[in-house]
Amino acid sequence: MLTKRIIPCLDVRDGRVVKGLNFAGIHDVADPVEMARFYNEAGADELVFYDITASYEQRALFTDILRRVAAEIFIPLTVGGGIRTLDDFDRVLKCGADKVSVNSGAIARPELIAEAAQRYGDQCVVLSMDVKRVGGSFHIFAKGGREDTGLDALEWAEFGVKSGAGELVVNSIDTDGVKGGFDLEMLDAIAARVDVPIIASGGAGRMEDFAELFRHPGIDAGLAASIFHFRQVLLPDLKRYLRSEGVEVRI
């Protein structure tokens, strides 16, 4: 059977890995190539790189890092951040990305999902969404979680998959950085609406949070950053623990 995937996420700015707490108070962690090597050896099933730089010069720095990672790390690489056009897809795919994650770019121009899926295949297009509770429903937030778009998260997920997104990264702003566990209520609600793999993000604090996550059959992967970067959870320990809990993982 397919294994549940554990995915460390690296936010890269100015050629360095950073991690925010509730998207604010970013502080530096390490060199992205070094980090990628470390995670690959530790048994990461996939790596996600988000380019959180703004300027054109820094974009070139990011693609250079991507190229260096892809030249020596042979597991799936997903790249996101600042993806707004098919040219952006092209730019990162040529540097060794396997999948491209769109977020704000798809909110600004929803046709981007279908266009990219048509050109590169559904398997290449990942729709990443930042979700927060507003009143009694789940809304899609833009601009790193600062702006309520008013879009209903369940409808947006369904639209994204119909347009050709092959996977969803679903990040809960409510639980992100809190380390109190994944947002299972929200994740289940989205999983019930779509039939593509769902990568859960936001809230992992302990190994038990992943075991709890994978008791929900609609969830395929767990993504986290700081608990891995700061070695609060070590991947080999996490995988052995999950296997002892009856979760199929790659060891």
């Binding site: 397919l2 020596e72 042979f74 597991i75 396997d98 059959p217 060891i251």
Partner: protein, 203 residues
């Protein structure tokens, strides 16, 4: 020297990098003479079968690949490249493949015994070796490989070396003579995948 066949389907950076990482000389080419000059060929591919088969034909490489395989030159088809080795595919219509391995490529969804499973079959799955072969020389016990596909090869049991379980045995590795096919991506399957590529270079 390994030639990676470039017929405009997919991204060959990782595949080429993985061979270089193993210290294996390789080049990416669409040139028939360069393909003839290589010791072994890799046929990659992502996307739809019909489109890829047409591109391979239009590049004038369909017969070049077939002739090389028939002459005994080691050939490795990866993902859609593996599917192209078969007689035909039923992905959006009916399309002719290279016909180097008997069998057909059909949709995974209707054959799944467990219809709650997701399609595409995306992720890491354990490779179960059914028949020992030199291609598994360096492969670890309990090795996992990375799949991304919605169609799979069937009616090819005689030529199947390894499968992965997805409520049915999904054809993972096939072989006919010096022609090999892998449904998963060895260039994305970590150390286990590199072990297969290394063995292919010694076939």
């Amino acid at each position: 020297m390994i030639a990676i066949i470039d017929y405009g389907v997919g991204n060959l950076f990782s595949l080429s990098s993985s061979l270089s990482y193993l210290g294996l000389d390789n080049y990416v080419t669409a040139d028939a003479d360069q393909l003839r000059a290589a010791d072994r060929l890799i046929l990659p591919g992502v996307g739809a079968f019909g489109d890829a088969a047409r591109k391979l034909r239009e590049a004038g490489l369909f017969d070049v690949v077939r002739a090389a395989a028939e002459a005994g030159k080691p050939l490795l088809g990866i993902c859609l490249g593996m599917q192209l080795l078969f007689d035909k595919s039923y992905e959006y219509g009916e399309h002719q493949g290279l016909g180097l391995i008997p069998g057909s490529v059909e949709a995974l969804r209707p054959d799944l015994a467990d219809d709650t499973l997701k399609v595409p079959h995306i992720g890491w799955n354990r490779l179960q070796i059914l028949r020992d072969d030199p291609i598994f020389r360096y492969f670890p016990d309990e090795g996992y490989v990375y799949y991304v596909h919605s169609f799979y090869a069937k009616n090819c049991w005689e030529n199947t070396l390894a499968v992965s379980d997805y409520s049915l045995p999904v054809t993972g590795v096939v072989r006919s003579g010096s022609v090999y096919g892998m449904q998963f991506h060895p260039e994305k399957s970590g150390a286990a995948g590199l072990a297969l590529l290394r063995a292919f270079a010694e076939i």
